[in-house]
């Protein structure tokens, strides 16, 4: 299939708008052809995750794009970088890597991207609306945009995110097209115990289970009670980490799934899986590598905590402090951090022994002192941290994490999990 380009596309490709734009266009066209896109479409916004330093090529690419003064064509937000620019003293790694990380973050700002430094751009004031065509990178943000907001993005990542932002164009293929947003696999959670269905930990554990079983197709979840955005965020992040899930439907909750038939686009499900409490518990255990009872650290805020989540931590703490031997971290975007600061939440967290991390995340950069096991309520953190940081991890509910932090040893709510 030939890729049909607009006059503007052809002008950019020919270098009429500079060599940076021509490079962006060549990469976009090459990938669009590999996706068999018949044409490109206009996007209204972009979210870039290429700002996390991974090596030389990432820096060379963005600096080449920017060499003749190119600027992003649509409003563009930035994912986490390698450094917490507001609290640089938290970084414990190689200073050479830190400098490269800082240089990369600066290069993206020079393109006109907003220095939001968050993996949860859907927690910013302005976010895409239903049906809007966007180009978002960062797997948890992609799944949230598609599923919860009903905006449309394919799975973008390094290099292609910035090419889309600079040109305002994306391949008309994949999840940009309605026909490709059909649910295929049904996960029925109706039989789960009520208390588990009401717990935040269910969403992360269920997301892990769904991601492990779904591969690249779109899951449809039946039987969830009314869920908060934070719970859907935890579910999507877990599913995207364990599998290649870029979208899910939660029947009665997400906008493209008023009922099962609509979510399946009127076709039969390829398979229906009845989720049991045993399987949810198994997911929890798969996300737990640590043995022993002593806690080295706890990590919250992956994806970045919302204001509500930060307030919930303060409420559970109820004036208590974390154990002296435990490092306690909560990661969030600088936008949410500013609100938490003025609401007095940050002061209460710090008084309880917490460190608030912004602009980055504790599993992608050296911040922890390196003592495990680390207790977390994030399935995504639990999935990646053992390999990234070489630490053992224990996954649990927010209550379990906080109680473990206070006690200095792993506290389990046996009744919740039916152990």
């Amino acid at each position: 299939m030939e890729l049909a380009l607009s006059d503007d596309d052809r002008a950019r490709l020919a270098g009429d708008c500079g060599e940076g734009l021509a490079l962006a266009m060549r990469v976009l066209v090459g990938v669009a052809a590999a996706m068999r896109a018949p044409r490109l479409l206009d996007i209204t916004g972009a979210h870039i995750d290429g700002c996390l330093y991974q090596g030389r090529v990432g820096i060379d690419f963005v600096e080449r794009l920017a060499a003749d003064g190119a600027r992003v064509r649509v409003p563009t937000t930035l994912n986490v970088g390698s450094l917490d620019l507001l609290h640089p003293q938290l970084y414990r790694g190689d200073p050479v890597d830190a400098e490269a990380g800082r240089r990369l973050m600066q290069a993206y700002q020079d393109l006109g991207c907003r220095p939001t430094w968050t993996c949860a751009p859907y927690q910013l004031e302005v976010r895409p609306g239903f049906g809007e065509q966007i180009a978002w990178a960062e797997s948890n943000a992609i799944v949230f945009a598609n599923s919860v907001l009903g905006a449309r993005t394919h799975r973008y990542g390094d290099f292609l995110d910035v090419c889309a932002a600079l040109t305002g164009r994306a391949p008309a293929a994949g999840l940009h097209l309605a026909a490709n947003r059909r649910g295929e696999i049904v996960f029925d959670v109706t039989a789960l115990p009520r208390r588990l269905l009401g717990s935040d930990a269910l969403y992360a554990a269920l997301g892990h289970l769904i991601g492990s079983r779904t591969g690249k197709s779109i899951p449809v979840i039946v039987g969830l009670p009314a869920a908060t955005e934070d719970q859907l965020k935890a579910l999507g992040a877990a599913a995207a980490a364990a599998g290649a899930v870029a979208m899910f439907h939660a029947v009665g909750i997400t906008p493209e799934a008023p009922d099962v038939a609509t979510a399946l686009h009127g076709q039969p499900a390829t398979v229906t899986i009845e989720v049991t409490a045993d399987e949810v518990r198994r997911s929890r255990d798969e996300l737990t590598t640590g043995s022993g009872d002593t806690v080295g650290a706890i990590s919250l805020g992956t994806p970045h905590a919302s204001l509500e989540e930060m307030a919930a931590v303060v409420a559970i703490l109820d004036g208590r402090r974390v154990h002296d031997a435990v490092e306690a971290y909560i990661s969030t975007g600088r936008g949410v951090a500013a609100k938490a600061e003025s609401a007095g939440i940050t002061a209460q967290l710090e008084a309880a022994g917490f460190t608030v991390v912004t602009d980055t995340c504790t599993y992608v950069t050296p911040i922890l002192r390196g003592r495990g096991p680390v207790v977390t309520n994030s399935a995504k953190w639990a999935y990646y941290a053992p390999a990234n940081l070489g630490l053992d991890v224990v996954f649990g509910s927010l209550d379990e994490v906080i109680e473990s932090a206070i006690a200095g040893e792993v506290v389990r709510d046996r009744e919740l999990w039916g152990d």
Partner: protein
């Protein structure tokens, strides 16, 4: 369907490495050496360096493009990639290395008949300017 579809142009000559299972370059190979480090992959410990890598499709993270580009630039990557299915992430990684450094690692999609003829250890040449695109020895 044509016997070949070119996703990224270029030429490459080397020994074939047929991957028995799909591989995620990110977390799957060490860009410093080209070795397969994914312990779940049956060919863990083999190297993609200088090889014509034959794989059904790529697996996993979008950061695969970054690792592939990095390995091509460091000279630890494949010299050509032959796939059974189109893959936008592998295309992207090879395209970026070509555009930035003029280091072109061709990526092509081949029919099952052609793929079955390729055996690990064979010396082949991939040249997207010619037809056929893969020739023995060379």
């Amino acid at each position: 369907m044509d016997e070949w579809q070119v996703l990224v142009p270029g030429t490459g000559r080397g020994e074939v490495l047929v991957l028995d299972e799909p591989l995620s370059f990110w977390g799957g190979i060490d860009a410093a050496s080209g070795r397969i480090i994914d312990v779940h992959h049956p060919q863990c410990g083999e190297s993609v360096r200088g090889r014509v890598v034959v794989m059904p499709y790529a697996r996993g993270s979008s950061s695969t493009a970054n690792t592939l580009a990095e390995s091509i630039h460091r000279g630890t990557g494949p010299v050509a990639i032959v796939m059974a299915e189109r893959d936008e992430i592998v295309t992207l990684g090879a395209l970026v290395a070509g555009e930035l450094y003029d280091e072109w690692c061709p990526v092509i999609v081949a029919t099952p008949t052609i793929l079955q003829r390729l055996r690990t250890g064979q010396l082949v040449r991939v040249d997207t300017r010619d037809s056929p695109v893969v020739s023995q020895g060379g």
